[in-house]
Amino acid sequence: MTIRGKIPFLAGTLMALGLGWVGFPYAINTRRPQPVDFSHKVHAEKGGTKCEDCHAFREDGTFAGIPTLDKCSGCHAAAMGTTVAEKNFIDQYVTPNREPQWADYARQPENVFFSHSVHVKRAGMTCESCHGPTGASDSLRPYREDRISGYPAEIWKVSGTNHGMKMADCVDCHRSKRMEQSCLDCHK
């Protein structure tokens, strides 16, 4: 085959690779918006000042995660502002007392045991060091989920950070802190 004969072949290969590179993340993940257009920034400024005010720890050390509706309706029984997002939230969730189906960007496989208490209260880590600057965000980014595994796509790379929430990311940190002991430290 001559050089000229190879050109269309090489161009085709490059095009296919490029298409795969760009298109694959869209093909592999489903996207859906969060149920409510929530602004962490507004709530951090006007409501609680710390993450823990809403994302609370329980007495037994477990982490409550995303707050439930009763936490919201404490303030939002009636509209506090004039935004459309708040009006929709009250009409669709607070008044009918319906829990919003939040999607968790950081949901882990079921064989993972992760304790927020151990990392935050004992190791003194900040929320941002894993979750990124979520508290400063003005709107919720769409939730992407892997079609095959069913896990959130942000496990691969957390928005606004240089790391993900894969096992390799956990191990990297544990290894650098010399806290790597046994598989069952993090698995159950």
Binding site: D60, G61, M179, Q181, S182, C183, L184, H187
Partner: protein, 260 residues
């Protein structure tokens, strides 16, 4: 073991089981299965193919009436502290001896199902999943969220109720205890035993029940000659029970072996 890091305040969890107190009721076996999401036995399960992280064996002194005597010996993973056979043979590094707790941990998700560890274990404490787990309708609601159910084709075993250890560690962290400080917790079998035959604690803590019991003359470990330095100690005042624990096979009639 992943690494050779030695924490400053390592725990060495262990058990002491008073064979003379065990009446063979099997409450520990039930509690263990419920705690660790062990499914009800598949219809094809036999003594060899069932899943019993903890199994109560019946042994006798081999004599005829009126001198016939029996004893019940609960046997779970003995958590070998030295030359742990299953850790050595695993080609997947799915088993490790945690230097911080002394627990021999099994990672079913890493297991490829070769069952080399089942063959290597001198205590028959490892079990293979011959079927996918299935719970009767509605019973899946009783599953313990702190323990992952295992799939067909992997090996599983006792890990001293690691889910409870996680919870205890988390509680200690929330209460402001420092890292590496051993936590106290109680495995399900210990909690369920109506006669208090099974006690659990940190062998490094001289005041704990297993540490005290381990020093007693009546105390013994299974197949001590293997040098595996297991962390489950047994106790019996009866000499024939102590002898049986050192024999390669329990002196049982064929019928009793079949019953397990």
């Amino acid at each position: 073991m992943i690494s050779e890091i030695k924490p400053i305040h390592a725990a060495k969890y262990g058990m002491t089981i008073d064979v003379d107190r065990c009446n063979g009721c099997g409450a520990c076996m039930v509690a263990c299965a419920v705690e660790n999401n062990v499914p009800p036995a598949h219809e094809g399960a036999t003594d060899r193919k069932g899943l019993t992280w903890l199994r109560v064996y019946k042994v006798d002194n081999g004599e005829e009436y009126p001198n016939h005597r029996t004893a019940f010996v609960p046997v779970m993973c003995q958590h070998c502290n030295h030359d742990t056979p299953c850790v050595h043979v695993c080609p997947q590094q799915a088993v490790d001896l945690d230097p911080a707790t002394g627990v021999v941990g099994e990672m079913p998700q890493r297991c490829l199902g070769c069952r080399y560890c089942v063959a290597a274990c001198p205590y028959h404490a490892r079990y293979f999943n011959w079927w996918d787990p299935a719970w009767p309708k509605g019973m899946e609601k009783t599953l313990n969220p702190d323990v992952t159910p295992r799939m067909r084709g992997v090996v599983e075993k006792c890990n001293f109720c690691h889910g409870r250890w996680h919870a205890a560690k988390q509680l200690a962290a929330a209460a402001g205890k420092l890292a590496g400080e051993p936590v106290e917790y109680t495995p399900a079998c210990v909690e369920a035993c109506p006669t208090g035959a099974i006690r659990f604690g940190d062998l490094n803590n001289a005041a704990s029940e297993p540490a005290r019991a381990a020093k007693e003359a009546e105390s013994f470990r299974l197949l001590e000659k293997l040098g595996t330095e297991t962390k489950v100690y047994y106790r019996s005042k009866r000499e024939w029970v102590r002898e049986i624990a050192q024999a390669p096979r329990p002196r049982q009639s064929g019928k009793e072996i079949a019953r397990g």
